[in-house]
Symmetry: C2
Subunit: 213 residues, 2 copies
């Protein structure tokens, strides 16, 4: 029926993809749980050398999975990240929140002299009474990550995990370096350097939730 | 107020980002319109060497901009692409459609022995009487791109532009090579190789709509 000869069976596509990634990527420095997350992140961007820049704090997988098992909220910096989270993989009915378009965010951004993404971070705490069991997924805005770290340094509650994959040329590398330096002792998964993005960020969350299943 | 020293003004972030990209990326092979699109795509992924794999058909920008000016529909393979399209940049009120979760797609996929993404392509034509002025944005599924090309080869109408950025290890490179070979004479923007993804794909559409504004 088809003019092109290609693999169309979804299960075969996944299995073949993961096998290629395992064959090519240098996964030896990761635990087996971390490997599952690394494989999904590589799968999301097509680059096996992502492992060179991928960092996990020791407690990232444990803390993140405990938060999901406890139905902790998931906060996303942009709608694209929210759209990429596969709900059926979540063990509980976690709220998935992007406050970027909340009423008042634009005004708050102007007042603070910052981006909407950073201003939107200030709206997260009102969505949950238990921010300590929430997971933050940042796939776009370095300013959102900086703003969150500043809030926590000023005494705000810490989340259970930060997945830090902001992307780009201004502040992305620096914001992730600050996360990785981990002066605040927060579990993290982070991608060093300029690379990042919504697809890579939410693939880490999806892998945390569902492994390679 | 902030513990970190970083640029927080949105306009300054954009300008500084675009200046870095212009300084580092080898944009000389592109027209000035194509450069705007290339810069936005690089901005979306943090990789200046994206230009090595980025291909435009001669008529891509002209045909794509004419379609947007004519309020052509925009079809996306996944919800993440749809979420990343910046509506305020569109010159007209184009419909933005992702049929992946339409009723009957899953059954159609099982029947055809293919992915939901590919099966969802068959639902596009019913959304518009004028498929010739629509734009296709594929940021995830090689099978969706193959399926669309197969449909067109079988006599279905051609769209005004295909933005082909499926990502990954099984079929992504091959599906984009088929698009670039352009046996069907369809305007395209494509990223060769394994790299791609929703963020890169919709950044091309956003640049087409709004330039670097």
């Amino acid at each position: 029926m088809s003019g092109f000869d290609y693999i169309s069976d979804p299960k075969e596509i996944y299995n073949d993809s993961f096998a290629q990634i395992r064959a090519e990527a240098d996964l030896g420095k990761f635990s087996s749980d971390e490997q599952e997350i690394a494989i999904r992140m590589i799968h999301a961007c097509g680059m096996v050398d992502l492992v060179d820049d991928l960092m996990f704090s020791n407690d990232a997988v444990t803390s993140g999975r405990a938060a999901l098992a406890d139905a902790g909220a998931i906060f996303c910096d942009v709608e694209m990240v929210k759209a990429g989270i596969i709900k059926r993989l979540l063990p509980r009915d976690s709220a998935i929140i992007c406050s970027l378009n909340d009423k008042g965010v634009q005004e708050n951004a102007v007042e603070l002299g910052t981006t909407r993404s950073a201003a939107a971070v200030e709206f997260w705490q009102k969505y949950t009474d238990d921010f300590e069991k929430s997971i933050i997924v940042i796939g776009n805005a370095p300013t959102a990550l900086f703003h969150l770290l500043d809030e926590i340094a000023a005494g705000h509650p810490k989340p259970a995990l930060i997945i830090g994959c902001p992307v780009g040329f201004v502040g992305a590398m620096e914001s992730k370096d600050a996360l990785i330096a981990n002066d605040l002792d927060i579990p993290f998964i982070a991608l060093k350097g300029r690379r990042g993005g919504s697809a890579i960020a939410c693939s880490a969350l999806n892998a945390l939730a569902g492994g390679l299943g």
